[in-house]
Symmetry: C2
Subunit: 318 residues, 2 copies
């Protein structure tokens, strides 16, 4: 299992290359929750999400001969963007396998960083087949978005950094998708503050972690129809084992609660946060009575929202 | 004329009540401009703009007997919101005179802080008549949004604070509407760094300050048809005198340049900034060759954007 030494090593590795993201506070939010709330703004990380941390750490740790052959990922989201940015910085080849129905904005973002894109059918089978074939033919190394120790250790550096910016936290709220971020977060948090409570937050509509956590058996999502598109994926055995060991509670939030939290962040705190990134705050707001007067860290995981339509409207008015 | 001692006094007065707003940086922006750029994020000030600083300072300095009788402002924008918030904190009466065609969102924001709203016709005459009558009948004190020494000194505290957060600035970019912000900014800036260059930025479509500055004669806007709604107003003699004395250059920006700067702030820096707040960055981007390798402060004046339509769309998709 990943340990806090790996997180601290990862932090040394990425420091200077990753952004030291700001911690934001709000009088209004503190008043609403009746606690001291500290938002760790990974929406302001390079590439727009925490994913840069794991991707950078993982690629850095590859032996030179593998690294120079190139890396591959299958993702239509933040991991793809982060990896594309990392390989550009390191000047190595990369392929990102994306479903052919991915939005133009996402494809352009990945292409913009200079990664090669290979399209596949929008099915798990096609994705795995396309990726496997490329690995076999070209010798690429797969950088999985969360089922990977070095990616998890990198993801944990956001919390490690938060604990260097804010002291004496009692709670940390973190979204759960595939479980990479909360795995790293919980290892970093309990490594430094053994009795901190780590609270996972998951959309009701993609509640595989909640069901797995409460039943003790790893299950997959039945549906994934949530606005929090970054959390539609499911746990793997590696992240499930860490979550069982480290996480204190998993809170479920509705779609309305996610959008309300996102709206608060935009309107009141002037932060552009994507739905998945607002899920942790939604969880805090849902169970705020529990954290009365406490010091609460909240991981805001990303801010990549498609603003095309919004600005098209603005520009049309000119 | 307002001097830097008044700004420093104002800062002592508002510290603790106003937010110490963050200074944001971006590798992408520094690369684009080829300089070190520091954004002073007054979009994260209480009430969503720098206006809180001036309103708080002005109301604090009223003799108790006047203050207790109450204050009045005519504004449909950020000054109204700021003043409404200040009077709520100080628990004194306030009236805001707003044109009857103001947007519901703006009216609700002012009402939400607890100020009384009196509507007038959307003309200068009706506004002045309505305001004058209330002052005469009820003994309210007018808090003008910029033609007021204590408001200007308060506005200058944003720059004063920036200079405590970032050292050795060579340039400061600041939007110009009525001229209150750039008056305070230039006094604070030149008070501490006499040879810093203060660059005003104004929309081409509301270029009264540019025309006044270059001709030496105070003129009003011919048109005010700009997306930067906070900058549609015009200079007064008081702010014009300070600008003539302190400002080094006024840069004009197009509507497209304003929206492009705003879009950069949202998409790349994850900051919700209103069009008027992005004008200063638009000016910097326009003349970036001039600031090559320099240290550049940019005042981001506010972030109050109507997000109703954007979130209605999000909620509809649930």
């Amino acid at each position: 299992m990943v340990d806090n030494d790996q997180v601290m090593d990862a932090y040394q590795r990425i420091e200077g290359s990753a952004n030291k993201t700001p911690v934001m506070t709000s009088r209004t939010l503190d008043g609403l929750v009746q606690a001291s709330v500290f938002l760790k703004c990974e929406n302001m990380q390079r590439g727009g999400s925490f994913k840069f941390r794991g991707a950078y750490n993982a690629v850095s740790l590859l032996p030179p001969e593998l690294r120079n052959r190139g890396v591959i990922a299958h993702s239509s989201g933040n991991h793809a963007q982060a990896l594309a940015l990392v390989v550009r910085l390191m000047d190595i080849p990369a392929v990102v396998v994306m479903p052919e129905n991915s939005s133009t904005v996402k494809i352009e973002a990945v292409r913009g960083y200079g990664a090669n894109i290979v399209k596949c059918q929008p099915t798990l089978e096609s994705r795995q087949e396309t990726t496997g074939k490329l690995i076999e033919e070209r010798g690429y190394t797969l950088i999985h978005p969360y089922d990977n120790e070095t990616v998890i250790a990198g993801a944990g550096t956001a919390c490690h950094e938060l604990l260097s910016q804010v002291s004496n936290l009692d709670y940390i709220f973190c979204p759960i998708g595939g479980g990479g971020l909360i795995s790293g977060t919980s290892i970093a948090a309990k490594g430094l503050i053994p009795d901190v409570k780590v609270m996972g937050v998951e959309p009701e509509k993609a509640q595989d972690a909640y069901l797995s956590f409460t039943s003790g058996e790893l299950v997959q999502n039945v549906s994934t129809d949530t606005v929090a598109d970054g959390l539609r994926t499911y746990l793997c055995q590696r992240t499930f084992d860490i979550i069982k060991h480290n996480v204190d509670e998993i809170v479920l939030v509705s779609e309305e609660e996610i959008v309300a939290a996102m709206r608060f962040l935009w309107e009141r705190m002037k932060l552009v946060v994507e739905p998945s990134g607002a899920v942790s705050l939604a969880g805090l707001l849902k169970i705020k009575e529990k954290v009365f007067n406490a010091r609460v860290g909240v991981i805001i995981s990303g801010g990549n929202v498609d603003l095309e339509a919004f600005f098209r409207d603005y520009e049309r008015r000119l």
